[in-house]
């Protein structure tokens, strides 16, 4: 179940290649544009290192849609209908009815947080709870590696 820890060298290489391709050396870039380009490279590097993860595909699809106005990669999402989409109405009703039923409140809290997590992890909308946690784990590993790589770069350039 656990994937290998992402190799930082591969990540770094992919990241830098992406930066070059984005022509980040172009002087005409404003800070915002540059930041977006860097972030794009970072996201792409992260996603390409872990190709088999769901969040990775979702991220690639999102990015390609954003920057190229068309989906380059086939979306591999499982289009699962998440019953949690109705959490808001259910929660309101639950809170009214279940004032004395602590279980429902606890479940509401957990469900609400789960929704937030779904929003954070790319592709989280279409995953069930189990997969969501799996993907979160993977995504966190990659994120941490990416941040370390970027920190190394900044340090090296000082």
């Amino acid at each position: 179940m656990q994937n290998t820890i992402p190799s930082k060298q591969v990540l770094l290489k992919t990241f830098l290649t992406g930066l070059r391709r984005r022509n980040i050396t172009n002087k005409g870039m404003t800070l915002l544009e540059r930041k977006r380009a860097i972030k794009l490279s970072a996201d792409l590097a992260m996603a390409s290192v872990r190709k088999e993860a769901k969040w990775s595909n979702a991220l690639m699809a999102d990015l390609s849609r954003k920057f190229q106005r068309k989906t380059v990669l086939p979306s591999k999402h499982r289009h699962v209908v998440i019953k949690g989409n109705k959490v808001s109405t259910h929660k309101r009703g639950a809170r009214r009815r279940c004032a004395a039923k602590a279980t429902a409140i606890a479940k509401c809290i957990i469900r609400k947080r789960e929704q937030v997590l779904r929003r954070l992890v790319p592709g989280g909308k279409c995953m069930d709870e189990c997969t969501l946690l799996d993907e979160t784990l993977d995504y966190l590993q990659l994120l941490k590696a990416q941040v370390d790589v970027m920190r190394l770069l900044v340090k090296a350039l000082e």
Binding site: K13, L19, T25, A106, L120, C130, L157
Partner: protein, 422 residues
């Protein structure tokens, strides 16, 4: 809370049972029928029993406390396995018996841990003991046993792996590993044999057995099994996440989710902030790093690599000069050097013609020395540069505007430029 729990449990356990464990056992079992009977809506009788005993919360043993309920419910959704009371009922008895048969603290911990594994696996062990043995086991431990039993029981009541996780955690710190932990270890192994031994073990006609069997019957229902499997998988993942996320010593699913969310947000924010930093010069390093990692790429690398005295910065800027003036400027910008717009404009307009000349004017104060060195590899890396250096003499004052200390760099560069071209 744990302290109060201990106090309450000890006092209430001792006071309620008086003599020992079997009265207590009876008391527990007598309180079971209501949740057992009402399986459709397990929660409300659960509430009542919890309210009546309130061992998990320890706040009010006899009262019906909403905050205690919420706390216990939240604890219900713990990482080692939350569950609907339907699934939790078999676990409840497990934990009870486990904690009784074993030592108190280990029993709670083992039951809590093992309960998350496969509760039905527990059944063969205590049930095969026979009621008398169980009672004997209840009786044999001393006051700590009764207390532990109470803890295990109290933990078991509201659901699987709830409050009993917390007092056993505290107990476990005090106590030694218990035989019940062996149960916990053995139980998941025995989990595979759950249905058959469970059925056989449930053959006894004693009322607790019947209840247990009913519970087991509930548990062996395919839906609950699937539910249980799903919960276990989720618990597994939560545990793995616990190791990854810092500061994640929470046992509660809700707070664990909170920590995870915070950590994801934090890392994403870090990526954003870092991308706004001086990573613009990273592209400058890109060819260098890519070349060095895949050895032997590009001829210019040879020249750069041969000069060990030169810093990476200078090599990189030299390479950048080949490609694009702008990249070198970006790189310099990343290094904290300031540029003068007018000279920059003219430099860029002449950049295509005189990219090499700018090498002579690199550097702020600290980099001025570097600029001197930079000229040397310039001719090596770019054999044509010699030809261009001289014609660029007149334009050099423009380019020298690149540096903060333009005069210094200019004077130095000019002298060295002449030296290199000669």
């Amino acid at each position: 809370m744990s302290g109060s729990l201990n106090g309450n449990s000890a006092s209430s356990g001792g006071g309620a049972t008086g003599a020992g464990g079997d009265d207590f056992f009876d008391q527990m079992l007598s309180s079971l029928p209501s949740p057992w009977a009402d399986l459709a809506n397990p929660k409300s009788p659960w509430d009542l029993t919890t309210g009546a005993n309130a061992p998990g919360s320890g706040e009010d043993c006899g009262g019906y406390d909403e905050s205690a309920l919420l706390a216990s419910r939240l604890r219900q959704h713990q990482i080692s396995g939350s569950g609907s009371p339907a699934g939790a009922k078999p676990m409840m008895l497990h934990q009870m018996l486990m904690s009784a048969a074993g030592r108190a603290p280990g029993g709670g911990a083992g039951a809590g841990a093992g309960g998350a594994g496969d509760p039905s696996g527990f059944f063969p062990l205590p049930l095969s003991l026979g009621r008398d043995d169980v009672e004997g086991a209840f009786k044999s431990p001393n006051g700590t046993g009764a207390e532990g039993l109470f803890n295990g029981y109290g933990g078991g009541l509201p659901g699987a792996a709830q409050a009993n996780n917390q007092p056993p955690f505290h107990h476990a710190q005090q106590g030694a590993p218990m035989p019940a932990q062996n149960f916990g270890g053995a139980a998941p192994n025995a989990g595979a044999q759950a249905p058959a031994p469970a059925a056989s073990g449930g053959g006894a006609a004693a009322p607790p057995r019947q209840r247990v069997r009913a519970r087991r019957g509930q548990a062996t229902d395919p839906h609950s099994i699937a539910e249980r499997l799903r919960r276990e998988r989720i618990a597994e993942r939560m545990k793995a996440l616990q190791e990854l996320v810092p500061n994640a010593n929470k046992t509660d699913k809700a707070s664990m989710l909170d920590e995870i969310i915070d950590y994801v947000k934090f890392l994403q924010l870090q990526v954003k902030v870092l991308s706004m930093s001086r990573l613009g010069g990273a592209a400058a390093v890109a060819p260098l790093v890519a070349n060095m990692s895949s050895e032997g790429q590009g001829g210019s690398n040879g020249a750069g690599g041969s000069d060990s005295s030169l810093t990476v910065t200078e090599q990189q800027v030299a390479k950048l000069m080949e490609e694009d003036m702008g990249s070198a400027m970006q790189y310099l910008q990343g290094k904290g050097l300031c540029l003068m717009p007018i000279s920059l404009a003219s430099a860029i307009s002449s950049a295509t013609c005189h990219p090499r000349a700018s090498a002579s004017h690199l550097g702020g104060g600290p980099a001025a020395a570097a600029a001197h060195h930079l000229i040397l590899p310039g001719p090596q890396a770019q054999p044509n540069s010699n030809n261009h250096v001289n014609p660029d003499g007149p334009s050099s004052p423009n380019l020298s505007g690149l540096t903060a200390q333009s005069a210094m760099a200019n004077g130095n560069a000019d002298s060295h430029k002449d030296a290199s071209s000669a």
